[in-house]
């Protein structure tokens, strides 16, 4: 078994384990740390897929900024153990089977998608890693307008967060 397969399996197992811990643990802070584990293993998978810029953004923005925000809010609100409530019958008897069916269906159709079989399973040579130069050219030429629109979106989000979290006078 070659190194890429080993790295893929290690990261996949870590990611799935992190997601399971997110579901099982009752302490929000444990869930947050498990989610950080998922994000870091996904960043390694992005490196394996030849997208170093996206891997760096994943670490800096997701595992860094967004999760720090989550942990900060958990500590600010002093969120303790999740209350144990009786699950609604609908969620228990219809929700779980339906979620599992969704999981299996998505996995099945992705696995049998023409792109997965024809392109990905071929023994073809590994494509060159997407260079950051190419990515930035694409981002600032073809996708310039969406880029500027997201900057306005961020500005509005900052204003909204400030207004929402302000103490009432």
């Amino acid at each position: 078994m070659s190194i890429p397969f080993f790295v893929f399996f290690a990261c996949a197992v870590l990611a799935i384990a992190g997601a399971l811990v997110l579901i099982v643990s009752r302490e929000p802070i444990h869930s947050a740390l498990a989610l950080v584990l998922v994000m870091i293993s996904l960043a390694i998978l992005y490196l394996l897929l030849g997208a170093p810029f996206i891997a760096a953004v994943q670490i800096i923005v997701y595992a860094g900024a967004i999760m720090v925000l989550f942990v900060f809010v958990i500590m600010l609100l002093n969120a303790g153990v999740e209350e144990r409530t009786n699950w609604s019958k609908l969620a228990k008897y219809a929700g779980l089977p339906l979620a599992l069916i969704l999981l299996l269906e998505t996995a099945h159709w992705l696995f049998h998608a023409p792109i997965g079989v024809a392109i990905a399973n071929g023994p073809g040579a590994p494509a060159p890693a997407a260079s950051t130069t190419q990515l930035s050219l694409e981002l600032f030429q073809q996708y310039l307008f969406p880029f500027e629109a997201t900057s306005i979106l961020i500005l509005i989000a900052i204003l909204g967060a400030l207004v929402l979290a302000r103490k009432e006078e």
Binding site: P28, A32, L49, L110, G116
Partner: protein
């Protein structure tokens, strides 16, 4: 050096998305529900990167970039709403937030 098939990445993405859906349905803490949304976004990002690699095009990576930016904005506004709810309701349990419930 052999390459991991793209379809394996897609299956991992589907599994993570399914786990995110399960967490979204079953968790009772509003912060954890937010985190499960982030988990689903991450799963979709993995599928985007895998497809970008399979088709050897960069558009998928640009989409991942935009998804991450929008997720950051969503987390900021959402957590502000959570703080406001926690102040008004003294609880993070979503079953206590039932003002609009029929």
């Amino acid at each position: 050096m052999s390459v991991v098939p793209i379809s394996w990445y897609l299956v991992l993405s589907a599994i993570l998305f399914g786990l995110g859906v399960i967490a979204f349905v079953f968790k009772r803490n509003i912060i954890t529900i937010f985190m499960s949304i982030e988990l689903m976004l991450n799963a979709v990002n993995l599928a985007f990167v895998a497809f970008a690699r399979a088709r050897n095009q960069l558009d998928g990576l640009v989409f991942v970039f935009f998804v991450i930016v929008v997720a950051a904005a969503e987390a900021a506004v959402g957590l502000a709403i959570v703080i406001m709810l926690a102040r008004n309701r003294e609880s993070l349990n979503v079953e206590r937030i039932n003002l609009l419930k029929f």
